[in-house]
Symmetry: C2
Subunit: 203 residues, 2 copies
DNA sequence: ATTTGATTTAACTAAACGGTCAAAATTAGA
DNA sequence: TCTAATTTTGACCGTTTAGTTAAATCAAAT
């Protein structure tokens, strides 16, 4: 006999929702149970502790991020298109779960021990390969020489920051809720332009 | 008769330390008291509640950020230098409190109501003025036409993200603790280069 | 229909937490 | 030195929290 798939899924969905909204410390098992429409005891019946429940949803989330951005690097397409594909797939993924980036960064920063082993994007982001691509492009005189670390931090920073700091940006740049989607769409153009402008800035 | 300045300062320092490390929900009044070397009752004697103590350090922190980055915009210096000055002053300020950016973004995102009124960088960042600068530079044919919103998000994203995601970046790009300082120094060059490359990318 | 195992519930526990209180200690002015 | 206000403390309180337990319900197989 299998534990009702429905109940387990309802729990995981609710846990993700509440944990993302309040963080590990701020989340309450009672609130997760309420949100799932079940008893608190049943919550502990499925996932023995808050820590284990958190680990379940956290692993699930992390395992979804990688593959969603994996594809672009191996395809035989121009560098600019690779960047666009990365930004596009990342921003599309985050439309469903806007709080995900900030949630992940924060929980890892506050409690790195809990995470060890889970998060290495080396699984889906081959540093050496990327380094080779940049090196080759530079060899062909197409781009300036850049450090792959700054290349990655630049792209991810430009992409992730506006999502993580959404509320602050909305408040200060006065972007209404209905304009936010448009702003994110614009970034799909702006980010590749920014990176390529940098790479091609050959004075 | 004045409340011992020493004790109040010790409390505020400890509170900032603990709150930044664990967040509002994760922080414990007992831990803050221990860190300050005082009794928990004394903590409540100085700051009546956890909320009020948190508000005190949060306001203090926010009021320090603005002015530290204020100066650059009004000076009669080239745009690139303005950007460099902003990045430099921001990164220097964050050397003392590396967890500050993530802390601020997270607490505001989780509980925006608590913050209302505190955070508007419109006090020190005049959007219209910046817009005029970009417009004039474009008029002189020096840069492409860009949206000031993306200009700001780009600069802040490139600057703040590596600080906020420090642990994740260190793990994945294999930057040791003693190399981190060097990496941040490098970003003072990379960020202005990235932005200016973008702005001057006139095909 | 009865049995067996999985699922769900209400009621409970122990510990941790923010906060209070009254008394003790300290400080500063008269 | 004495007094009065401020500062500091240990002991305490009520609530909230994650987690447990034992009984009840349900579903499927015999």
């Amino acid at each position: 006999m299998v534990k009702s798939k429905n109940t387990e899924e309802k729990i995981l969905d609710s846990a993700r929702e509440i944990f993302m909204m309040k963080g590990f410390e701020g989340a309450r098992m009672q609130e997760i149970a309420d949100h799932a429409g079940i008893n608190k005891a049943l919550l502990h019946y499925y996932f023995r502790s808050k820590e284990k429940l958190f680990a379940s949803i956290f692993n699930k989330i992390l395992s979804q991020i990688g593959p969603a951005m994996l594809t672009f690097i191996n395809e035989e397409i121009p560098l600019e298109v690779k960047i666009w594909k990365f930004v596009d797939s990342y921003l599309e993924l985050m439309k469903k779960f806007p709080r995900m980036p900030l949630f992940i960064i924060n929980e890892i920063s506050i409690n790195p021990e809990r995470i060890i082993g889970h998060l290495n994007f080396s699984d889906f982001l081959d540093l050496r390969k990327l380094e080779k691509i940049l090196h080759d492009e530079h060899g062909k005189g197409r781009i300036i020489a850049v450090d792959v670390k700054h290349f990655i931090v630049n792209i991810i920073g430009l992409t992730v920051f506006p999502l993580a700091a959404k509320i602050i940006i909305q408040r200060n740049l006065q972007i209404q809720n209905d304009e936010w989607h448009q702003f994110i769409e614009e970034r799909k153009k702006v980010i590749p332009e920014t990176i390529m402008g940098w790479l091609k800035n050959m004075d």
